[in-house]
């Protein structure tokens, strides 16, 4: 069981770190470059992240779910924290599907020669929603690690 917890912490930590990198380092940095560079980079990254992240989110949700279920079944301390973390990850996934994914798909489909007029506001909106998602994920990770400690 402990190995599973270790793997879950590692995978979710990497995912949240990735999301923090995008939201707090990569996008703000690229936003200071010229508009052609910014739009080109944003489109390229939207395509790659659009392929990679769904698998990562699903894996995190499944691992958190399994650990929470095990903690609940064993009646150990911290199972409530683990359940809250699962709910938060599932909430982040639902939030992504409804809020971020449509914008991401539009950005990934941009024709760089004919960018939409609102392309900057699209990215800005994505960044705001992404910030909310990162906060949710960070709380989920914190709760999950705390649950693992409590049950150890």
């Amino acid at each position: 069981m402990q190995l599973l917890e270790l793997i879950a912490i590692l995978i979710s930590g990497l995912m949240v770190g990735n999301e923090i990198a995008v939201g707090f380092i990569i996008h703000p940095t690229l936003s200071r470059t010229r508009s052609e560079v910014y739009s080109d980079s944003a489109r390229a990254l939207a395509r790659v992240y659009g392929r990679v992240m769904p698998i990562w989110y699903a894996a995190t949700a499944v691992l958190f779910g399994i650990v929470a279920f095990e903690l609940y079944r064993n009646g150990t301390n911290g199972y409530r924290l683990a359940i809250y973390s699962v709910l938060l990850v599932v909430g982040a996934i639902v939030f992504t599907l409804n809020g971020l994914l449509p914008i991401n798909n539009r950005i990934a489909g941009w024709d760089l020669n004919r960018l939409p007029d609102n392309w900057e506001s699209e990215i800005w909106r994505w960044d705001v929603l992404h910030f909310i998602r990162v906060v949710m994920l960070m709380i989920a990770l914190f709760l999950f690690v705390a649950a693992c400690f409590a049950s150890a």
């Binding site: 917890e5 930590g13 380092i25 560079v37 980079s41 390229a44 990770l141 400690f149 150890a152």
Partner: protein, 151 residues
């Protein structure tokens, strides 16, 4: 004490994720963009990372060392793993200072220069970064294991 361990685990996980984002996603993605985009993006990102990441590494090393020392003093299980994790963090930093650091500094100086694509020239840097990510992952794994052992 547990709060310190929690913070150390979270900080390392996030650092590792950030390093993974740059090494395995952003750089390969940008290497397919046109020269202008690539060099501008590299230049800006290298400048930002150069300011942020060294502090993060130092903070993680410090946290690992404090936890390892505490566990060693208390003579609880897992102190060896914590010490090994701190040593691995040192190795990751040692890999950065002579390797990726100067490369990053050069990237931050060569704005609009024609940077090489992900070809033979760039592979050594890519692998160096990959090696650092693996070392960081191993350090995190050992540290989490140490915390579990001592809990």
């Amino acid at each position: 004490m547990q709060l310190l361990e929690l913070i150390a685990i979270l900080m390392t996980g996030l650092l590792l994720g950030i390093e993974m984002a740059i090494g395995l996603i952003v750089e390969p993605t940008m290497s397919e963009a046109n020269d202008e985009t690539r060099s501008d993006a590299y230049y800006s990102l290298a400048r930002t990372y150069r300011r942020v990441v060294p502090w993060w590494y130092a903070a993680v090393l410090l946290l690992y060392s404090v936890v390892a020392l505490k566990l060693h003093r208390s003579a609880v299980n897992g102190y060896r793993q914590a010490e090994a994790a701190a040593i691995l963090m040192l190795v990751a930093i040692a890999c950065t200072v002579p390797g990726a650091g100067p490369t990053k500094n050069r990237s931050s100086l060569c704005r609009l220069a024609r940077l090489p694509r992900l070809t033979a020239q760039v592979w050594p840097r890519f692998f160096q970064h990959f090696f650092r990510v693996v070392v960081l992952a191993a350090a995190l794994f050992l540290f989490v294991a140490a915390c579990f052992e001592s809990a």
